[in-house]
């Protein structure tokens, strides 16, 4: 393959030429107007938040020596989990060949690209020196570091997702399958490594172990299905055609199974934490159990969607759209809890009355700057997705 072939390959990627006018030419319904205003407001918040961060650095955030990871880490995880989940859902059709799911492949894979880009946009303003990271990740790689593996694999994953998406646009299903499978495997490895970032912490008994690397894969699949319902809800304005309904009912049933497995995961994690009696873990488990954010996670991400699924055996697609909204808010709590709970217990180090009384629990409250950048990430994600729906044909081609 020479340069001419590559140029021709790129030139023949199907896309629609859109102008700013085209982007603004959406149906002016109250719902659309509200969404448009929210996206613009979120993007403005991103700009303001980043400007404050560039001026004040991490002092603009609520993070401290005792709680070095804050909301932006949680939001980054939220986006990359979404990306991995959409990659799994997208792979059902074009990689594994389940025909009913072929229709969502292109949309889900595009979703996986925009969500991980939003995640990278957020983490770029949490990592103190992102450019240094790019240089020394290559020059002096830390092979024993889960962060190194996670970051490197996610970089590769993004590349494979883009290539898969291009082949999907070109309707080259064979190549899309090869790159999709590779991307899926790399993505799952990356995501599992993200869980191991917490699993390897021997200073933090509440996180240490195999739980997070496996649980992350499960919750990614769950997140991907929630997002599939949300994307299709907007695509069809809640009036789902027959083929979409069939696929979503199936996805709803899979979601019922996954949520049931998640209940086992969470229940046994809590029971072993609380009753296992491990110092520095049991008391943290009790504290988590008594926190409202844990219950927000359980009710919004698990109980409400599972109730909707079980009530009509997954056939209530409209109900699942709204339950998926609830689910995604719950998933955000899930990510926040993961990050915060890991750092709850002070490391003590005998600093009982050093400078100030060591708190029994480490407190953290996200600053307004962190909230603005986080919402900005959501705005970026929605804006990129909206532009994508205009530029590319994200629906399945006719022959599917």
């Amino acid at each position: 393959m020479n340069i001419k072939d590559i140029k021709e390959f790129v030139a023949t990627i199907p896309y629609n030429k859109v102008s700013i006018k085209d982007l603004l030419a959406f149906e002016k319904t109250p719902r659309n107007m509200l969404l448009a205003v929210l996206i613009v407001a979120f993007l403005a918040m991103f700009v303001i938040g980043v400007a404050i961060y560039l001026k004040h650095g991490h002092h603009a955030y609520g993070v401290t020596r005792e709680h070095p990871w804050g909301l932006l880490i949680a939001v980054y995880i939220f986006f990359v989990v979404s990306s991995t989940g959409l990659c799994i859902v997208g792979s059902l059709g074009d990689v594994f060949g389940f025909k009913d799911y072929m229709m969502i492949s292109k949309r889900a894979i595009f979703g996986s690209i925009v969500t991980i880009l939003a995640g990278f946009a957020v983490i770029a303003f949490e990592i103190g020196h992102p450019v240094t990271m790019l240089i020394y990740n290559v020059l002096t790689p830390g092979f024993t570091s889960a962060i190194w593996w996670m970051g490197t694999l996610y970089g590769m994953y993004l590349t494979f997702m883009i290539i898969e998406f291009v082949f999907l646009l070109k309707n080259d299903m064979k190549m899309a399958k090869y790159f999709g499978l590779t991307g899926l495997l790399v993505g799952l490895s990356a995501h599992s490594n993200l869980g191991s970032v917490f699993g390897f912490l021997n200073a933090r008994p509440i996180s240490n172990g195999v739980y997070y690397p496996t649980y992350f894969i499960l919750t990614a699949f769950i997140t991907g299905i929630y997002l599939a319902f949300i994307m299709y809800g907007f695509r069809y304005k809640l009036k789902f055609p027959e083929n979409a309904t069939k696929m979503l009912v199936n996805l709803g049933k899979i979601q019922g199974l996954l949520l049931s497995i998640l209940i086992f995961f969470v229940t046994w994690k809590m029971l072993t934490d609380v009753y296992g009696g491990m110092p520095n873990r049991a008391e943290v488990g009790v504290h988590i159990f008594e926190s409202w954010t844990f219950w927000a996670e359980v009710i919004l991400a698990i109980f409400i969607p599972l109730f909707i699924i079980l009530k009509d055996m997954g056939r209530n697609v409209l109900g699942m759209f709204w339950a998926s909204m609830s689910g995604m808010v719950g998933i955000m709590f899930m990510r926040y809890n993961l990050v915060h709970d890991t750092q709850l217990k002070p490391l003590q180090m005998l600093k009982k009355t050093e400078y100030q009384l060591t708190p029994e629990w480490v407190h953290y409250l996200p600053s307004s700057t962190e909230v603005m950048i986080s919402l900005g990430g959501l705005g970026l994600c929605l804006a990129m997705y909206y532009v994508g729906t205009k530029v590319f044909n994200l629906d399945a081609d006719e022959h599917h």
Binding site: T132, S145, A146, F200, L350, E354
Partner: protein
């Protein structure tokens, strides 16, 4: 090449905090409660007057433990945290990306962010200052009025630290984590 460590005769500590001041002065550590490489931990005296527990009135000087198997080094994605030729755990600010993973992974709360370089900083046994000048003591050791700290080469059987560790019992902190600290608390 040496393998530097420190023994702390911590029961002699009188909590004068001269070591904290000396560390800040010698190494140019910024002011502020969060910005410290070393510290003295103090416990509340237990019991109620007049039945107070004198035994509980102990101070605990502490800092980076310079672990032989340092979790902070293992988790660093760019190898910014490294063992130097004297087995001292150090941070190369050129390579540090401030991902803060090491701060989360260190079981001893020994790391903080230096606002000048915007990178993670920690005790390096005065390598950049006193050891570079050819001195053989750290600032905290040299200033201590009750001689709590003994700094030296653990691989040299004739060093004071090796002798004292042969003669007296000692403990390391959070030994169950398998980090193999090179800070020894003399019992």
């Amino acid at each position: 090449m040496a393998r530097y460590g420190m023994a702390l005769d911590y029961k002699n500590c009188i909590n004068c905090k001269a070591c904290e001041v000396a560390c800040k002065e010698e190494n140019g550590i910024l002011m502020g409660a969060d910005k410290h490489r070393i510290w003295v931990g103090t416990g509340e005296i237990e019991g109620e007057y007049p039945l107070l527990s004198i035994a509980s009135n102990t101070f605990y000087p502490s800092q980076c433990q310079h672990c032989d198997d340092a979790p902070c080094q293992e988790v660093c994605p760019t190898n910014a945290t490294y063992y130097d030729e004297n087995s001292i755990v150090r941070v190369d600010p050129e390579k540090c990306i401030l991902c803060s993973y090491c701060m989360n992974a260190c079981p001893y709360d020994a790391r903080y962010v230096d606002d000048r370089t915007v990178t993670v900083d920690k005790c390096n046994f005065c390598t950049d200052t006193r050891l570079d000048r050819g001195e053989v003591t750290t600032a905290c050791q040299a200033t201590c009025p009750t001689k709590v700290r003994i700094f030296g080469d653990l691989d040299d059987p004739e060093s004071e630290i090796s002798q004292v560790l042969r003669e007296r019992e000692s403990k390391t902190l959070k030994a169950h984590l398998g980090t193999n600290p090179k800070l020894f608390y003399l019992l």
